[in-house]
Subunit: 299 residues, 2 copies
Protein backbone atom coordinates (compact mmCIF):
# COMPACT_ATOMS: atom_id res chain seq x y z
CA UNK A 1 0.00 0.00 0.00
CA UNK A 2 1.33 3.42 -0.95
CA UNK A 3 1.73 5.68 2.06
CA UNK A 4 1.76 9.47 2.14
CA UNK A 5 2.82 11.89 4.87
CA UNK A 6 1.94 15.58 4.96
CA UNK A 7 3.43 18.05 7.47
CA UNK A 8 7.09 18.12 8.48
CA UNK A 9 6.86 20.21 11.64
CA UNK A 10 8.48 19.40 15.02
CA UNK A 11 6.73 16.06 15.31
CA UNK A 12 6.05 15.22 11.63
CA UNK A 13 9.71 15.53 10.79
CA UNK A 14 10.69 12.90 13.37
CA UNK A 15 7.80 10.63 12.40
CA UNK A 16 8.94 10.57 8.78
CA UNK A 17 12.47 9.78 9.91
CA UNK A 18 11.13 6.92 12.05
CA UNK A 19 9.00 5.55 9.20
CA UNK A 20 11.97 5.61 6.83
CA UNK A 21 14.16 3.88 9.42
CA UNK A 22 11.46 1.23 9.77
CA UNK A 23 11.82 0.55 6.05
CA UNK A 24 8.62 2.28 4.93
CA UNK A 25 8.41 3.77 1.45
CA UNK A 26 6.79 7.20 1.61
CA UNK A 27 5.51 10.02 -0.54
CA UNK A 28 5.84 13.23 1.44
CA UNK A 29 4.62 16.79 1.10
CA UNK A 30 5.26 19.98 3.03
CA UNK A 31 4.05 23.49 2.22
CA UNK A 32 7.52 24.88 2.86
CA UNK A 33 9.55 22.77 0.42
CA UNK A 34 12.88 23.30 2.28
CA UNK A 35 11.76 20.97 5.07
CA UNK A 36 11.56 18.06 2.63
CA UNK A 37 15.23 18.42 1.63
CA UNK A 38 16.66 15.99 4.25
CA UNK A 39 14.31 13.32 2.91
CA UNK A 40 15.04 13.69 -0.83
CA UNK A 41 17.15 10.56 -0.94
CA UNK A 42 14.93 8.38 1.23
CA UNK A 43 11.36 9.34 0.19
CA UNK A 44 9.48 10.55 -2.87
CA UNK A 45 8.95 14.28 -2.40
CA UNK A 46 5.73 15.49 -4.00
CA UNK A 47 5.43 19.10 -5.12
CA UNK A 48 1.69 19.39 -4.53
CA UNK A 49 -1.10 17.76 -2.54
CA UNK A 50 -3.11 16.37 -5.51
CA UNK A 51 -0.23 14.31 -6.87
CA UNK A 52 0.39 12.79 -3.44
CA UNK A 53 -3.36 12.26 -2.87
CA UNK A 54 -3.87 10.46 -6.20
CA UNK A 55 -1.17 7.88 -5.64
CA UNK A 56 -1.63 6.89 -1.98
CA UNK A 57 -3.79 4.40 -0.10
CA UNK A 58 -3.00 5.71 3.38
CA UNK A 59 -2.22 9.37 4.02
CA UNK A 60 -1.08 10.80 7.36
CA UNK A 61 -1.26 14.51 8.04
CA UNK A 62 0.01 16.48 11.02
CA UNK A 63 -0.60 20.23 10.94
CA UNK A 64 -0.89 22.98 13.52
CA UNK A 65 -4.61 23.71 13.75
CA UNK A 66 -8.13 23.41 12.34
CA UNK A 67 -7.57 26.06 9.67
CA UNK A 68 -4.47 24.31 8.34
CA UNK A 69 -6.22 20.92 8.22
CA UNK A 70 -9.27 22.40 6.48
CA UNK A 71 -7.06 24.19 3.97
CA UNK A 72 -5.31 20.88 3.24
CA UNK A 73 -8.56 18.96 2.83
CA UNK A 74 -10.42 21.53 0.72
CA UNK A 75 -8.29 24.40 -0.73
CA UNK A 76 -5.24 22.26 -1.45
CA UNK A 77 -7.37 19.45 -2.87
CA UNK A 78 -6.71 16.46 -0.61
CA UNK A 79 -10.29 15.17 -0.50
CA UNK A 80 -10.95 15.93 -4.15
CA UNK A 81 -7.97 13.83 -5.22
CA UNK A 82 -7.84 10.89 -2.79
CA UNK A 83 -8.89 7.51 -4.17
CA UNK A 84 -12.15 5.92 -3.01
CA UNK A 85 -11.27 3.29 -0.41
CA UNK A 86 -8.18 5.15 0.69
CA UNK A 87 -7.83 6.54 4.22
CA UNK A 88 -6.76 9.90 5.66
CA UNK A 89 -5.30 9.60 9.16
CA UNK A 90 -5.41 13.00 10.87
CA UNK A 91 -2.74 13.31 13.59
CA UNK A 92 -3.40 17.00 14.33
CA UNK A 93 -5.09 18.29 17.48
CA UNK A 94 -8.26 19.83 16.10
CA UNK A 95 -11.80 20.48 17.34
CA UNK A 96 -13.93 17.41 17.89
CA UNK A 97 -16.64 19.04 15.78
CA UNK A 98 -14.13 19.54 12.94
CA UNK A 99 -13.22 15.85 13.12
CA UNK A 100 -16.89 14.93 12.79
CA UNK A 101 -17.41 17.26 9.82
CA UNK A 102 -14.23 16.16 8.06
CA UNK A 103 -15.17 12.49 8.50
CA UNK A 104 -18.49 13.24 6.77
CA UNK A 105 -16.79 15.14 3.91
CA UNK A 106 -14.38 12.25 3.36
CA UNK A 107 -17.18 9.67 3.53
CA UNK A 108 -19.10 11.47 0.78
CA UNK A 109 -16.22 10.68 -1.58
CA UNK A 110 -15.86 7.12 -0.29
CA UNK A 111 -12.70 8.00 1.64
CA UNK A 112 -12.14 6.79 5.23
CA UNK A 113 -11.16 9.25 7.93
CA UNK A 114 -9.36 8.26 11.13
CA UNK A 115 -8.33 10.46 14.01
CA UNK A 116 -5.00 9.51 15.59
CA UNK A 117 -4.00 12.09 18.18
CA UNK A 118 -0.51 12.11 19.59
CA UNK A 119 0.32 12.33 23.27
CA UNK A 120 4.01 13.12 23.64
CA UNK A 121 6.62 15.66 22.72
CA UNK A 122 9.36 15.48 20.05
CA UNK A 123 11.75 13.69 22.46
CA UNK A 124 9.15 10.94 22.90
CA UNK A 125 8.78 10.66 19.13
CA UNK A 126 12.55 10.38 18.85
CA UNK A 127 12.53 7.60 21.46
CA UNK A 128 9.59 5.88 19.68
CA UNK A 129 7.63 6.24 22.92
CA UNK A 130 4.55 8.16 21.76
CA UNK A 131 1.07 7.35 22.93
CA UNK A 132 -1.47 7.45 20.11
CA UNK A 133 -5.24 7.69 20.56
CA UNK A 134 -7.01 6.23 17.53
CA UNK A 135 -10.68 6.36 16.54
CA UNK A 136 -12.87 6.06 13.46
CA UNK A 137 -13.63 3.26 11.02
CA UNK A 138 -11.64 1.94 8.08
CA UNK A 139 -10.94 -1.44 6.52
CA UNK A 140 -7.29 -0.34 6.58
CA UNK A 141 -7.24 0.25 10.35
CA UNK A 142 -4.86 -2.64 11.06
CA UNK A 143 -2.37 -1.39 8.49
CA UNK A 144 -2.70 2.10 10.00
CA UNK A 145 -1.90 0.74 13.48
CA UNK A 146 1.30 -0.84 12.14
CA UNK A 147 2.29 2.44 10.53
CA UNK A 148 1.52 4.34 13.73
CA UNK A 149 3.89 2.01 15.53
CA UNK A 150 6.57 2.57 12.88
CA UNK A 151 6.23 6.36 13.12
CA UNK A 152 7.04 6.29 16.86
CA UNK A 153 3.90 5.02 18.63
CA UNK A 154 4.54 2.70 21.56
CA UNK A 155 1.09 2.64 23.09
CA UNK A 156 -1.77 2.73 20.57
CA UNK A 157 -5.09 3.22 22.40
CA UNK A 158 -8.24 2.42 20.43
CA UNK A 159 -11.14 4.74 21.22
CA UNK A 160 -13.76 3.08 19.03
CA UNK A 161 -15.54 3.95 15.80
CA UNK A 162 -16.41 7.61 16.32
CA UNK A 163 -13.73 9.70 14.57
CA UNK A 164 -14.15 12.53 17.08
CA UNK A 165 -13.41 10.40 20.20
CA UNK A 166 -9.63 10.51 19.83
CA UNK A 167 -9.87 14.29 19.37
CA UNK A 168 -11.98 14.58 22.54
CA UNK A 169 -9.43 12.55 24.51
CA UNK A 170 -6.51 14.63 23.25
CA UNK A 171 -8.27 17.91 24.05
CA UNK A 172 -9.13 16.66 27.55
CA UNK A 173 -5.55 15.47 28.09
CA UNK A 174 -4.13 18.87 27.19
CA UNK A 175 -6.69 20.49 29.47
CA UNK A 176 -5.39 18.28 32.31
CA UNK A 177 -1.81 19.32 31.51
CA UNK A 178 -2.61 23.04 31.58
CA UNK A 179 -4.57 22.51 34.81
CA UNK A 180 -1.51 20.87 36.38
CA UNK A 181 0.66 23.75 35.17
CA UNK A 182 -1.71 26.38 36.62
CA UNK A 183 -2.07 24.44 39.89
CA UNK A 184 1.71 24.14 40.28
CA UNK A 185 2.11 27.79 39.30
CA UNK A 186 -0.32 28.85 42.03
CA UNK A 187 1.07 26.43 44.64
CA UNK A 188 4.74 27.25 44.02
CA UNK A 189 4.08 30.98 44.04
CA UNK A 190 2.16 30.68 47.32
CA UNK A 191 4.73 28.38 48.95
CA UNK A 192 7.57 30.68 47.91
CA UNK A 193 5.85 33.86 49.07
CA UNK A 194 5.04 32.12 52.38
CA UNK A 195 8.74 31.39 52.85
CA UNK A 196 8.97 27.68 52.06
CA UNK A 197 11.73 26.05 49.99
CA UNK A 198 9.93 25.58 46.67
CA UNK A 199 12.52 23.28 45.08
CA UNK A 200 12.30 20.95 48.08
CA UNK A 201 8.49 21.14 47.98
CA UNK A 202 8.64 20.10 44.31
CA UNK A 203 11.06 17.28 45.14
CA UNK A 204 8.76 16.06 47.91
CA UNK A 205 5.57 15.93 45.83
CA UNK A 206 7.22 14.33 42.81
CA UNK A 207 8.82 11.65 44.97
CA UNK A 208 5.40 10.78 46.35
CA UNK A 209 1.85 11.66 45.33
CA UNK A 210 2.74 13.42 42.09
CA UNK A 211 5.49 11.12 40.77
CA UNK A 212 4.50 11.69 37.13
CA UNK A 213 6.30 13.22 34.13
CA UNK A 214 3.96 16.25 33.95
CA UNK A 215 4.71 17.27 37.53
CA UNK A 216 8.41 16.40 37.35
CA UNK A 217 9.15 18.12 34.05
CA UNK A 218 6.85 21.14 34.11
CA UNK A 219 7.48 21.64 37.81
CA UNK A 220 11.15 22.05 37.02
CA UNK A 221 10.44 24.38 34.09
CA UNK A 222 8.28 26.57 36.38
CA UNK A 223 10.86 26.68 39.18
CA UNK A 224 13.74 27.39 36.77
CA UNK A 225 11.56 29.77 34.71
CA UNK A 226 13.14 28.15 31.66
CA UNK A 227 10.20 29.15 29.48
CA UNK A 228 12.12 30.29 26.43
CA UNK A 229 13.04 26.73 25.44
CA UNK A 230 9.55 25.88 24.21
CA UNK A 231 8.69 22.20 23.95
CA UNK A 232 5.12 23.22 23.16
CA UNK A 233 4.34 26.89 22.63
CA UNK A 234 1.99 29.05 24.65
CA UNK A 235 0.26 29.85 21.38
CA UNK A 236 -0.60 26.16 20.82
CA UNK A 237 -1.63 25.80 24.45
CA UNK A 238 -4.03 28.72 24.00
CA UNK A 239 -5.47 27.05 20.91
CA UNK A 240 -6.00 23.78 22.78
CA UNK A 241 -7.63 25.59 25.71
CA UNK A 242 -10.06 27.23 23.31
CA UNK A 243 -10.74 23.77 21.80
CA UNK A 244 -11.56 22.48 25.30
CA UNK A 245 -13.92 25.40 25.95
CA UNK A 246 -15.60 24.95 22.56
CA UNK A 247 -16.05 21.24 23.23
CA UNK A 248 -17.48 22.01 26.69
CA UNK A 249 -19.86 24.48 25.11
CA UNK A 250 -21.01 21.89 22.56
CA UNK A 251 -21.39 19.26 25.28
CA UNK A 252 -23.31 21.58 27.61
CA UNK A 253 -20.82 21.43 30.47
CA UNK A 254 -18.90 24.08 32.36
CA UNK A 255 -15.11 24.03 32.55
CA UNK A 256 -14.16 26.65 35.13
CA UNK A 257 -10.48 25.69 35.30
CA UNK A 258 -10.21 26.22 31.54
CA UNK A 259 -11.80 29.66 31.89
CA UNK A 260 -9.02 30.67 34.27
CA UNK A 261 -6.34 29.10 32.07
CA UNK A 262 -7.66 30.83 28.93
CA UNK A 263 -7.26 34.18 30.68
CA UNK A 264 -3.70 33.27 31.70
CA UNK A 265 -2.85 32.68 28.03
CA UNK A 266 -4.42 35.99 27.00
CA UNK A 267 -2.32 37.88 29.55
CA UNK A 268 0.77 35.81 28.70
CA UNK A 269 0.44 36.77 25.04
CA UNK A 270 -0.17 40.44 25.85
CA UNK A 271 3.24 40.21 27.50
CA UNK A 272 4.81 38.83 24.34
CA UNK A 273 5.33 35.22 25.37
CA UNK A 274 3.34 33.57 22.53
CA UNK A 275 6.32 31.48 21.46
CA UNK A 276 7.52 30.61 24.99
CA UNK A 277 6.68 27.23 26.47
CA UNK A 278 3.02 26.94 27.51
CA UNK A 279 4.16 26.50 31.12
CA UNK A 280 4.95 30.24 31.00
CA UNK A 281 1.36 30.91 32.08
CA UNK A 282 2.85 30.26 35.56
CA UNK A 283 4.92 33.41 35.05
CA UNK A 284 1.68 35.41 34.86
CA UNK A 285 0.71 34.08 38.29
CA UNK A 286 4.03 35.20 39.74
CA UNK A 287 3.79 38.60 38.08
CA UNK A 288 0.38 39.11 39.69
CA UNK A 289 1.97 39.14 43.14
CA UNK A 290 4.94 41.34 42.34
CA UNK A 291 5.15 45.14 42.51
CA UNK A 292 5.26 47.03 39.22
CA UNK A 293 8.36 49.18 38.91
CA UNK A 294 6.45 52.14 37.47
CA UNK A 295 4.02 52.27 40.40
CA UNK A 296 5.15 54.33 43.39
CA UNK A 297 5.42 51.75 46.19
CA UNK A 298 3.98 52.61 49.61
CA UNK A 299 6.54 52.91 52.41
CA UNK B 1 13.50 10.35 76.89
CA UNK B 2 9.83 10.01 77.82
CA UNK B 3 7.56 10.25 74.79
CA UNK B 4 3.91 11.25 74.71
CA UNK B 5 1.31 10.90 71.98
CA UNK B 6 -2.01 12.77 71.86
CA UNK B 7 -4.78 12.02 69.37
CA UNK B 8 -5.86 8.52 68.35
CA UNK B 9 -7.79 9.30 65.17
CA UNK B 10 -7.44 7.53 61.82
CA UNK B 11 -3.74 8.28 61.54
CA UNK B 12 -2.77 8.70 65.20
CA UNK B 13 -4.08 5.28 66.05
CA UNK B 14 -1.81 3.61 63.48
CA UNK B 15 1.17 5.76 64.44
CA UNK B 16 0.90 4.66 68.08
CA UNK B 17 0.69 1.03 66.95
CA UNK B 18 3.82 1.54 64.83
CA UNK B 19 5.71 3.22 67.68
CA UNK B 20 4.81 0.38 70.05
CA UNK B 21 5.88 -2.20 67.46
CA UNK B 22 9.19 -0.34 67.11
CA UNK B 23 9.71 -0.89 70.83
CA UNK B 24 8.95 2.66 71.94
CA UNK B 25 7.54 3.30 75.42
CA UNK B 26 4.70 5.80 75.24
CA UNK B 27 2.34 7.82 77.38
CA UNK B 28 -0.83 8.39 75.40
CA UNK B 29 -3.93 10.53 75.74
CA UNK B 30 -7.16 10.80 73.78
CA UNK B 31 -10.20 12.91 74.60
CA UNK B 32 -12.49 9.96 73.95
CA UNK B 33 -11.03 7.45 76.37
CA UNK B 34 -12.43 4.38 74.52
CA UNK B 35 -9.90 4.81 71.75
CA UNK B 36 -7.04 4.23 74.18
CA UNK B 37 -8.41 0.78 75.18
CA UNK B 38 -6.47 -1.27 72.59
CA UNK B 39 -3.24 0.25 73.94
CA UNK B 40 -3.80 -0.33 77.67
CA UNK B 41 -1.38 -3.24 77.80
CA UNK B 42 1.33 -1.69 75.63
CA UNK B 43 1.38 1.99 76.66
CA UNK B 44 0.71 4.16 79.72
CA UNK B 45 -2.71 5.68 79.23
CA UNK B 46 -2.99 9.12 80.83
CA UNK B 47 -6.39 10.40 81.93
CA UNK B 48 -5.64 14.08 81.35
CA UNK B 49 -3.30 16.31 79.37
CA UNK B 50 -1.41 17.85 82.32
CA UNK B 51 -0.23 14.50 83.70
CA UNK B 52 1.07 13.50 80.27
CA UNK B 53 2.60 16.96 79.71
CA UNK B 54 4.48 16.95 83.03
CA UNK B 55 6.21 13.64 82.48
CA UNK B 56 7.29 13.80 78.83
CA UNK B 57 10.30 15.20 76.97
CA UNK B 58 8.84 14.79 73.48
CA UNK B 59 5.10 15.05 72.83
CA UNK B 60 3.43 14.35 69.49
CA UNK B 61 -0.09 15.53 68.80
CA UNK B 62 -2.31 14.86 65.81
CA UNK B 63 -5.75 16.47 65.87
CA UNK B 64 -8.31 17.51 63.29
CA UNK B 65 -7.99 21.28 63.05
CA UNK B 66 -6.73 24.59 64.47
CA UNK B 67 -9.44 24.77 67.13
CA UNK B 68 -8.61 21.31 68.47
CA UNK B 69 -4.88 22.06 68.59
CA UNK B 70 -5.46 25.41 70.32
CA UNK B 71 -7.80 23.79 72.83
CA UNK B 72 -5.11 21.19 73.57
CA UNK B 73 -2.37 23.79 73.98
CA UNK B 74 -4.33 26.28 76.08
CA UNK B 75 -7.67 25.04 77.52
CA UNK B 76 -6.47 21.51 78.24
CA UNK B 77 -3.18 22.79 79.67
CA UNK B 78 -0.50 21.32 77.43
CA UNK B 79 1.74 24.39 77.32
CA UNK B 80 1.17 25.26 80.99
CA UNK B 81 2.38 21.81 82.05
CA UNK B 82 5.15 20.86 79.62
CA UNK B 83 8.69 20.96 81.01
CA UNK B 84 11.14 23.66 79.87
CA UNK B 85 13.44 22.08 77.27
CA UNK B 86 10.78 19.60 76.17
CA UNK B 87 9.37 19.66 72.64
CA UNK B 88 5.87 19.56 71.17
CA UNK B 89 5.74 18.07 67.68
CA UNK B 90 2.52 19.11 65.97
CA UNK B 91 1.48 16.63 63.25
CA UNK B 92 -1.87 18.27 62.51
CA UNK B 93 -2.64 20.24 59.36
CA UNK B 94 -3.25 23.73 60.72
CA UNK B 95 -2.89 27.30 59.48
CA UNK B 96 0.66 28.49 58.94
CA UNK B 97 -0.16 31.55 61.04
CA UNK B 98 -1.34 29.29 63.88
CA UNK B 99 1.95 27.38 63.72
CA UNK B 100 3.85 30.66 64.05
CA UNK B 101 1.75 31.81 66.99
CA UNK B 102 1.91 28.45 68.77
CA UNK B 103 5.69 28.34 68.34
CA UNK B 104 5.88 31.74 70.06
CA UNK B 105 3.58 30.65 72.91
CA UNK B 106 5.69 27.52 73.48
CA UNK B 107 8.94 29.50 73.32
CA UNK B 108 7.74 31.84 76.04
CA UNK B 109 7.69 28.86 78.40
CA UNK B 110 11.01 27.54 77.12
CA UNK B 111 9.31 24.74 75.21
CA UNK B 112 10.32 23.87 71.63
CA UNK B 113 7.68 23.59 68.93
CA UNK B 114 8.16 21.60 65.73
CA UNK B 115 5.76 21.20 62.84
CA UNK B 116 5.78 17.74 61.26
CA UNK B 117 3.03 17.49 58.66
CA UNK B 118 2.06 14.14 57.27
CA UNK B 119 1.63 13.40 53.58
CA UNK B 120 -0.15 10.07 53.20
CA UNK B 121 -3.31 8.26 54.12
CA UNK B 122 -3.89 5.58 56.80
CA UNK B 123 -2.83 2.80 54.39
CA UNK B 124 0.53 4.53 53.95
CA UNK B 125 0.89 4.81 57.74
CA UNK B 126 0.12 1.11 58.02
CA UNK B 127 2.81 0.35 55.42
CA UNK B 128 5.26 2.72 57.19
CA UNK B 129 5.47 4.69 53.97
CA UNK B 130 4.47 8.17 55.11
CA UNK B 131 6.22 11.29 53.95
CA UNK B 132 6.80 13.77 56.77
CA UNK B 133 7.62 17.47 56.31
CA UNK B 134 9.49 18.77 59.34
CA UNK B 135 10.37 22.32 60.32
CA UNK B 136 11.26 24.37 63.40
CA UNK B 137 14.16 24.31 65.84
CA UNK B 138 14.88 22.04 68.80
CA UNK B 139 17.92 20.42 70.35
CA UNK B 140 15.85 17.22 70.29
CA UNK B 141 15.27 17.34 66.51
CA UNK B 142 17.40 14.28 65.83
CA UNK B 143 15.51 12.23 68.41
CA UNK B 144 12.27 13.49 66.88
CA UNK B 145 13.35 12.35 63.41
CA UNK B 146 13.99 8.86 64.77
CA UNK B 147 10.56 8.79 66.36
CA UNK B 148 8.95 10.07 63.14
CA UNK B 149 10.55 7.14 61.37
CA UNK B 150 9.25 4.73 63.99
CA UNK B 151 5.71 6.09 63.74
CA UNK B 152 5.57 5.29 60.02
CA UNK B 153 7.65 7.93 58.26
CA UNK B 154 9.71 6.70 55.33
CA UNK B 155 10.73 9.98 53.79
CA UNK B 156 11.44 12.77 56.31
CA UNK B 157 11.88 16.08 54.48
CA UNK B 158 13.51 18.89 56.45
CA UNK B 159 12.08 22.31 55.66
CA UNK B 160 14.39 24.38 57.84
CA UNK B 161 14.04 26.35 61.06
CA UNK B 162 10.76 28.19 60.53
CA UNK B 163 7.99 26.21 62.28
CA UNK B 164 5.41 27.38 59.76
CA UNK B 165 7.25 26.07 56.65
CA UNK B 166 6.11 22.46 57.03
CA UNK B 167 2.54 23.75 57.46
CA UNK B 168 2.86 25.84 54.29
CA UNK B 169 4.11 22.83 52.34
CA UNK B 170 1.30 20.60 53.59
CA UNK B 171 -1.36 23.18 52.78
CA UNK B 172 0.08 23.66 49.28
CA UNK B 173 0.23 19.88 48.76
CA UNK B 174 -3.42 19.45 49.64
CA UNK B 175 -4.27 22.36 47.36
CA UNK B 176 -2.50 20.49 44.53
CA UNK B 177 -4.48 17.34 45.33
CA UNK B 178 -7.84 19.14 45.25
CA UNK B 179 -6.79 20.85 42.02
CA UNK B 180 -6.05 17.47 40.46
CA UNK B 181 -9.43 16.17 41.67
CA UNK B 182 -11.29 19.16 40.22
CA UNK B 183 -9.31 18.96 36.94
CA UNK B 184 -10.08 15.24 36.56
CA UNK B 185 -13.70 15.87 37.52
CA UNK B 186 -14.04 18.49 34.79
CA UNK B 187 -12.09 16.48 32.19
CA UNK B 188 -13.88 13.17 32.82
CA UNK B 189 -17.28 14.84 32.79
CA UNK B 190 -16.46 16.59 29.51
CA UNK B 191 -14.96 13.49 27.88
CA UNK B 192 -17.95 11.39 28.92
CA UNK B 193 -20.54 13.91 27.75
CA UNK B 194 -18.63 14.21 24.45
CA UNK B 195 -18.95 10.45 23.96
CA UNK B 196 -15.43 9.20 24.77
CA UNK B 197 -14.63 6.12 26.86
CA UNK B 198 -13.69 7.73 30.18
CA UNK B 199 -12.20 4.61 31.78
CA UNK B 200 -9.90 4.16 28.79
CA UNK B 201 -9.03 7.87 28.89
CA UNK B 202 -8.08 7.47 32.55
CA UNK B 203 -6.04 4.36 31.74
CA UNK B 204 -4.22 6.23 28.96
CA UNK B 205 -3.23 9.26 31.03
CA UNK B 206 -2.15 7.24 34.06
CA UNK B 207 -0.01 4.96 31.89
CA UNK B 208 1.77 8.00 30.51
CA UNK B 209 1.90 11.67 31.53
CA UNK B 210 -0.05 11.29 34.78
CA UNK B 211 1.40 8.03 36.12
CA UNK B 212 1.12 9.14 39.75
CA UNK B 213 -0.86 7.85 42.75
CA UNK B 214 -3.12 10.93 42.91
CA UNK B 215 -4.31 10.48 39.32
CA UNK B 216 -4.48 6.69 39.52
CA UNK B 217 -6.35 6.45 42.82
CA UNK B 218 -8.62 9.50 42.75
CA UNK B 219 -9.26 9.02 39.03
CA UNK B 220 -10.67 5.60 39.83
CA UNK B 221 -12.72 6.93 42.76
CA UNK B 222 -14.22 9.60 40.46
CA UNK B 223 -15.03 7.15 37.66
CA UNK B 224 -16.51 4.59 40.07
CA UNK B 225 -18.20 7.33 42.13
CA UNK B 226 -17.08 5.38 45.19
CA UNK B 227 -17.25 8.49 47.35
CA UNK B 228 -18.86 6.97 50.41
CA UNK B 229 -15.71 5.10 51.41
CA UNK B 230 -13.93 8.23 52.62
CA UNK B 231 -10.15 8.03 52.90
CA UNK B 232 -10.16 11.76 53.69
CA UNK B 233 -13.46 13.52 54.19
CA UNK B 234 -14.90 16.36 52.16
CA UNK B 235 -15.19 18.27 55.44
CA UNK B 236 -11.42 18.08 56.00
CA UNK B 237 -10.78 18.95 52.37
CA UNK B 238 -12.93 22.06 52.81
CA UNK B 239 -10.94 23.01 55.91
CA UNK B 240 -7.64 22.61 54.04
CA UNK B 241 -8.92 24.66 51.10
CA UNK B 242 -9.84 27.45 53.49
CA UNK B 243 -6.34 27.16 55.01
CA UNK B 244 -4.87 27.59 51.51
CA UNK B 245 -7.02 30.66 50.86
CA UNK B 246 -6.13 32.16 54.23
CA UNK B 247 -2.44 31.57 53.58
CA UNK B 248 -2.78 33.15 50.11
CA UNK B 249 -4.51 36.12 51.69
CA UNK B 250 -1.70 36.52 54.24
CA UNK B 251 0.95 36.16 51.52
CA UNK B 252 -0.75 38.63 49.19
CA UNK B 253 -1.28 36.19 46.33
CA UNK B 254 -4.37 35.06 44.45
CA UNK B 255 -5.35 31.41 44.25
CA UNK B 256 -8.14 31.21 41.68
CA UNK B 257 -8.21 27.40 41.50
CA UNK B 258 -8.81 27.30 45.27
CA UNK B 259 -11.69 29.77 44.91
CA UNK B 260 -13.42 27.37 42.53
CA UNK B 261 -12.64 24.37 44.73
CA UNK B 262 -13.95 26.11 47.85
CA UNK B 263 -17.28 26.65 46.12
CA UNK B 264 -17.37 22.97 45.11
CA UNK B 265 -17.05 22.01 48.78
CA UNK B 266 -19.80 24.43 49.81
CA UNK B 267 -22.19 22.92 47.23
CA UNK B 268 -21.05 19.39 48.10
CA UNK B 269 -21.89 19.98 51.76
CA UNK B 270 -25.24 21.57 50.94
CA UNK B 271 -25.97 18.24 49.30
CA UNK B 272 -25.07 16.36 52.45
CA UNK B 273 -21.74 14.85 51.44
CA UNK B 274 -19.62 16.32 54.28
CA UNK B 275 -18.43 12.90 55.35
CA UNK B 276 -17.92 11.48 51.85
CA UNK B 277 -14.43 11.37 50.37
CA UNK B 278 -13.14 14.80 49.32
CA UNK B 279 -13.03 13.56 45.71
CA UNK B 280 -16.84 13.83 45.83
CA UNK B 281 -16.49 17.46 44.73
CA UNK B 282 -16.27 15.85 41.27
CA UNK B 283 -19.87 14.73 41.77
CA UNK B 284 -20.90 18.39 41.95
CA UNK B 285 -19.36 18.95 38.51
CA UNK B 286 -21.35 16.06 37.09
CA UNK B 287 -24.56 17.22 38.72
CA UNK B 288 -24.11 20.63 37.10
CA UNK B 289 -24.56 19.11 33.66
CA UNK B 290 -27.49 16.86 34.46
CA UNK B 291 -31.19 17.70 34.27
CA UNK B 292 -33.06 18.12 37.56
CA UNK B 293 -35.99 15.75 37.86
CA UNK B 294 -38.28 18.43 39.29
CA UNK B 295 -37.73 20.79 36.37
CA UNK B 296 -40.01 20.24 33.36
CA UNK B 297 -37.59 19.27 30.58
CA UNK B 298 -38.00 20.89 27.16
CA UNK B 299 -38.87 18.51 24.32
Amino acid sequence: METGFIGLGNLGNIMVKNLVESGRKLRIFNRTIEKTKPFEATTSVESDVPSLAKSCDIIFSILSDDAAVESLCFNQGLIANMKPGSVHVCLSTIAASTATRLAEEHAEKGIDYLTATIVGRPEAAQARALTVCLSGTSAKKEAVVELLTDLGGKNIKQFGDDPKSAAVVKICTNFLITSAIEAMGEAFNLAGKAGADVALFHEMITETLFSAPIYKNYGKVIIDESYDKAGFTSQLGFKDTRLALALANDAGVTLPFADIIKNRFIVNHSRGRNLYDWASIAKVIKEESEPLTDVKQSQ
